[in-house]
């Protein structure tokens, strides 16, 4: 399959006759096709792993010898170890899984693309820009963030990390959380609503199932750290005191971080296991053993439990003894699905005919290494043993066995397995074998000795010669060099394949019955032989949708530049904001002009659990499902805020008396104004249903005016409080007030922007009594925001 790399003449004509370079640029910068977006994720994740790997090489060089060896200073080492963790987990492993999910989920379920192609591209560009913002810290005064990948408070505050590096990490993370949220909604809606007729849940391939689980985990874990990161940025940029206050600080951050951080490790591993399952089936020729039991145990045990066991990272913080024991138990229970994964893979091979090709050997290696990682994890689950093992290299060994071993080897299996599909070329078996052997040997050489270092602290840039750790560290460093060098072989394989050098592969070289192998690899936009949708009315020349749209790129670059500019150089902030606003405006304009539509609106296949209403188009139904999912995630987001507030209030007894700070009558009135705007919206909806266009528009405008008034009055409230010396830095009461009202206000503002778009549509006469879908979708969001404001009202003002 080579369409994504071979500019065929037909493609060039599609591209409007641009020069090859420009066409190539436009293709990769503006594509919304899930296959190309998948490849963007792929190459970008490899770029980031090169950076993360280089940092690892530097760290291992520094650790090869005991003090006074200081190739890296303490500060440089701390930057390296912090950024290495962030890059490897968030910018490499997770996106590499996303690369395969993006490329293959639509192919596996028989869909043309994902549910929201532009948001898909947007997710990618936000990921890239988020990563760039984080890494720009290396070029900032003071260097990159150096508070560990976990950014514990108060080390991550401006008091103890004064430079811009940590702020840049925080801002970059915000972009990443946005990217992951959008990606989650996108893939889940795709899987829920775009399965081809006959693609039942039972028939869905394991890789798609694991993607579904991964995205669900992300959708409900990211909101927690999203709020945490907002609080951190609020501290660092606006002077609030969430993490400088002993009533908040360490434990608050740890809770918000690990509620995300623990599910994140499953996010990293599950796509790899999905690929391993596919590979095991194909290279043994046998069905997956106990697929239903496996999926149920992952969905019903692993997923919910992963949210309840996160505090095993907090065993030494002094949390309640009963809680610790409960979590110890739950963590042990959570090893059951993981163990089942291993057993099911192994038993899949029983009765089969095993071919030891590269994908399979990597899959077996992943499994073997996962066993070691899993068992060493059980040690850490013990409240008692953790008292010694915490903060030592035993933990470092454990999680590298899972992350590098299971996840990375699993994803390497995926690369070799699907490379013929991506490129139409077969890799060199000899090189692949060499890559496997060297990777496996050097991996174990680097990380197994760590289990002999259970007294050596983590994140230390040096250690005393009087310890006996020097020899082991030296061996580990040699192993690291070998492992890094071995990956050059993979790079060679990839470059050869993508440049179409070597042996071409048949369309289905593995004789796999996986659905993705049956798609027509020669077609460009459509995954399955199909007719291009008819051109939008009003277009003269024969128009084929190019799946090209510049807005995701423009908005992301704008946001990224703005973040960097905010911290490092304010002209960038201006440029970025202008670009971002231009992109958002352009997106809305595209929608109003119908300039971007999905290829073909085929009938929905399996539809459980969301029914499509008569009169709804397929696209509208998808939008509705996505909106509900997004609101569910937003609800978790607001719950995290509520959690923050509860936590702070429980720990802080000194709080201003009710009514002493705020003008309760005024804020009550203001909230009522917002509620009234919801009422106006209801009237508008009613008029829409009755086909009364101008009344409907008037009520929509009334909604806008009332909502806008709410914001303006809130703005006056802020100004008033500032005048009364109640600012961002007014202790926890100030911090929580401004964060909560700020987030609510941001939601209202976003809603008003959406409303402006809806009103423009109304004025242009786009709504009918049968079809006023945008208003109904908007009202879902608006009612949600009003509900959140009303619920938060007593929490902020009356307590």
């Amino acid at each position: 399959m080579s369409h994504v790399n071979e500019p065929a003449n037909e493609v060039e004509t599609l591209r409007g006759g641009y020069s090859p370079t420009l066409a190539w640029l436009r293709k990769w910068l503006f594509t919304t096709d899930h296959k190309e977006v998948g490849l963007l994720y792929f190459w970008t994740s490899l770029w980031f792993v090169a950076i993360g790997g280089a940092l690892a090489g530097l760290m291992r060089t520094q650790l090869a010898f005991p003090a006074p060896w200081d190739i890296l200073s303490a500060s440089a080492y701390n930057q390296a170890v912090s950024m290495h963790g962030l890059i490897m987990v968030l910018l490499f492993l997770s996106p590499l899984g996303a690369a395969f999910s993006n490329y293959f989920v639509p192919l596996q379920i028989g869909a043309k693309d994902v549910a929201y192609p532009r948001f898909n591209a947007f997710s990618y560009w936000m990921y890239l820009m988020g990563g760039i913002v984080m890494i720009s810290g290396f070029f900032a005064p003071g260097g990159a963030a150096q508070a560990g990948w976990t950014n514990y408070a108060p080390l991550d505050s401006t008091l103890f990390s004064p430079g811009p590096g940590e702020t840049l990490v925080g801002l970059g993370l915000l972009l990443l959380w946005g990217s992951l949220t959008m990606g989650g909604v996108n893939l889940i809606v795709t899987i829920l609503t775009m399965r081809a007729p006959g693609m039942t849940w039972k028939k869905m391939p394991p890789f798609t199932w694991m993607t579904l689980f991964t995205q669900l985990l992300l959708l409900f874990s990211v909101p927690s750290i999203f709020v945490g990161t907002l609080a951190l940025i609020s501290d660092r940029v606006f002077g609030t005191v969430f993490f400088l206050n002993t009533a908040g600080s360490t434990i608050l951050w740890e809770n918000m971080w690990w509620f995300f951080g623990h599910p994140e490790v499953y996010v990293v591993v599950l796509p790899a296991f999905g690929a391993i399952a596919e590979v095991f089936m194909v290279f043994t020729g046998r069905p997956l053993y106990a697929k239903k039991a496996l999926l149920i145990s992952v969905g019903i045990i692993l997923m919910p439990f992963s949210f309840s066991i996160y505090a095993h990272h907090m065993f030494l913080t002094g949390i309640n003894a009963l809680q610790r024991e409960f979590i110890d138990l739950n963590t042990e229970i959570n090893t059951l699905p993981s163990g089942l994964l291993v057993v099911c893979m192994a038993l899949t091979a029983v009765g089969g005919t095993i071919k030891f090709k590269a994908p399979f050997t990597f899959a077996v290696a992943a499994l073997v290494v996962f066993i070691i990682g899993g068992i060493t994890g059980v040690f850490d689950s013990s409240v008692l043993l953790d008292q010694e093992l915490r903060g030592t290299y035993q933990v470092v060994g454990h999680f590298h066995y899972i992350m590098v071993g299971a996840a990375e080897f699993g994803l390497m299996a995926a690369i070799y397995y699907w490379l013929p599909k991506w490129t139409g070329m077969m890799y060199s078996a000899a090189i692949a074998k060499l890559h496997f052997i060297t990777s496996f040997v050097f991996f174990n050489m680097t990380f197994f000795p760590m289990f002999y270092l259970l007294e050596m602290p983590r994140r230390v840039y040096t250690y005393l010669a009087s310890t006996s750790w020097g020899n082991i560290n030296f061996i580990e460093t040699l192993g690291a060099y070998g492992f890094i060098a071995a990956q050059v072989l993979l790079l060679y394989v990839l470059v050869q394949a993508f440049r179409h050098k070597g042996t071409p592969a048949p369309p289905n070289p593995w004789n796999s019955s996986g659905p993705e192998w049956t798609s027509d690899t020669k077609s460009y936009l459509d995954n399955y032989p199909a007719v291009y949708a008819s051109p939008p009315s009003g277009q003269s020349a024969p128009h084929v949708m190019t799946a090209e749209n510049s807005r995701p790129f423009t908005i992301s670059v704008g946001v990224g530049l703005a973040c960097i500019g905010l911290i490092l150089w304010w002209p960038l902030l201006l440029i970025g904001t202008v670009l971002g606003v231009y992109g958002v405006y352009g997106w809305a304009k595209d929608d109003l002009n119908g300039a971007f539509t999905m290829p073909g609106e085929e009938k929905a296949g399996e539809t459980w659990p969301f029914k499509q209403n008569p009169g709804e188009t397929f696209g509208q139904w998808r939008m509705k499902v996505g909106t509900w999912l997004f609101l569910a995630s937003d609800l978790v987001f607001f719950s995290a805020i509520a959690g923050l507030l509860i936590f702070v209030r429980l720990h802080l007894t000194d709080w201003p008396a009710v009514g002493s700070v705020f003008n309760i009558p005024m804020v009550t009135l203001n909230t009522l104004i917002l509620v009234t705007s919801g009422l106006a919206l209801m009237f508008a909806l009613q008029d829409a249903k009755e086909g009364k266009g101008s009344e409907m528009t008037r009520w929509l405008v009334a909604t806008l005016i009332l909502g806008g008034s709410f914001l303006i009055i809130s703005g006056f409230e802020w100004v008033d409080q500032f005048a009364k010396q109640f600012t961002f830095s007014s202790g926890m009461p100030g911090s929580t007030f401004y964060l909560l009202t700020g987030i609510s206000g941001a939601h209202v503002f976003a809603g008003l922007l959406m409303l402006a778009y809806v009103i423009k549509k109304a004025i242009s006469g786009k709504f009918t009594r049968e079809n006023h879908f945008s208003i109904r979708l908007f009202s879902l969001f608006w009612m949600f925001v009003i509900a959140m404001v009303v619920i938060l009202f007593p929490a902020i003002y009356l307590m």
Binding site: G285, D328, L336
Partner: protein
């Protein structure tokens, strides 16, 4: 996994009770872990060997989307894993109260431990402060650990004792030194550029030596 040396015999002396308790529990996890791993590896290796393809080079057409549902294997897996997990978990839960809760024998001494960037300071009941933790052999010492600035982690590896030092919080650990020796105390949570050098000593001295030191003025 370990230097087993670390778990069966301490450096030169008898290990402190906390280390012995730890070693007992650890060894359960260690041996059962190795056994579970070995059995699983053996199973996998056997399956790979037994079902390797022997003839031909092509991959057989994959009839892999067929039904192979069963609950037997999963339930057996859960049961076997459950037995191992219960066995090791029980060791933790049985030993935990002894390990965590200071017996508060008569003669036990409370010492306040404060971590800050980048050293530990110890404050004794008579308000004497020191940067080395000097204790008399044979007496229980209850350590009340906190921090003045960022998160640190107070650990005495030879005693298998460790806890977070968090600003605004006080975490308790206890030790029962049973030999005259010096032990390492180190910081185990990244706390800034001095993290690697935040090292000090637990000096266990004879009773008489301690009395003299304790009653003398000035910090050590």
């Amino acid at each position: 996994m370990p230097g087993s040396a670390a778990l069966t015999a301490s450096v030169l002396q008898t290990p402190p009770p906390s280390a012995q308790l730890f070693a007992n529990v650890y060894n359960w996890y260690y041996y059962l872990g190795i056994a579970s791993g070995a059995i699983t590896f053996a199973l996998i290796l056997f399956i790979l060997y037994r079902y390797r393809s022997r003839a031909g080079k092509e991959i057989a057409a994959d009839k892999t989307r067929e039904n192979r549902e069963t609950w037997k294997g999963p339930l057996v897996t859960f049961a076997l894993m459950g037995i191992v997990l219960v066995a090791v978990g029980a060791q933790t839960f049985i030993a935990l109260p002894t390990y965590q809760n200071p017996p508060k024998n008569p003669g036990s001494m409370d010492v306040a431990v404060t971590g800050q960037q980048f050293f530990w300071s110890f404050t004794y009941p008579n308000n004497k402060s020191s940067t080395i933790l000097v204790v008399p052999v044979g007496n229980e010492v209850i350590l009340n650990v906190t921090s003045k600035d960022v998160n640190h982690q107070f650990g005495i590896p030879d005693f298998r004792v460790k806890t977070d030092a968090i600003p605004g919080r006080h975490n308790i650990v206890w030790i029962q030194p049973n030999s005259v020796a010096n032990y390492t105390i180190q910081c185990f949570e990244l706390c800034g550029v001095g993290h690697a050098t935040m090292i000090t000593t637990l000096a266990v001295v004879p009773q008489a030596t301690f009395e003299t030191w304790y009653n003398s003025t000035g910090s050590t």
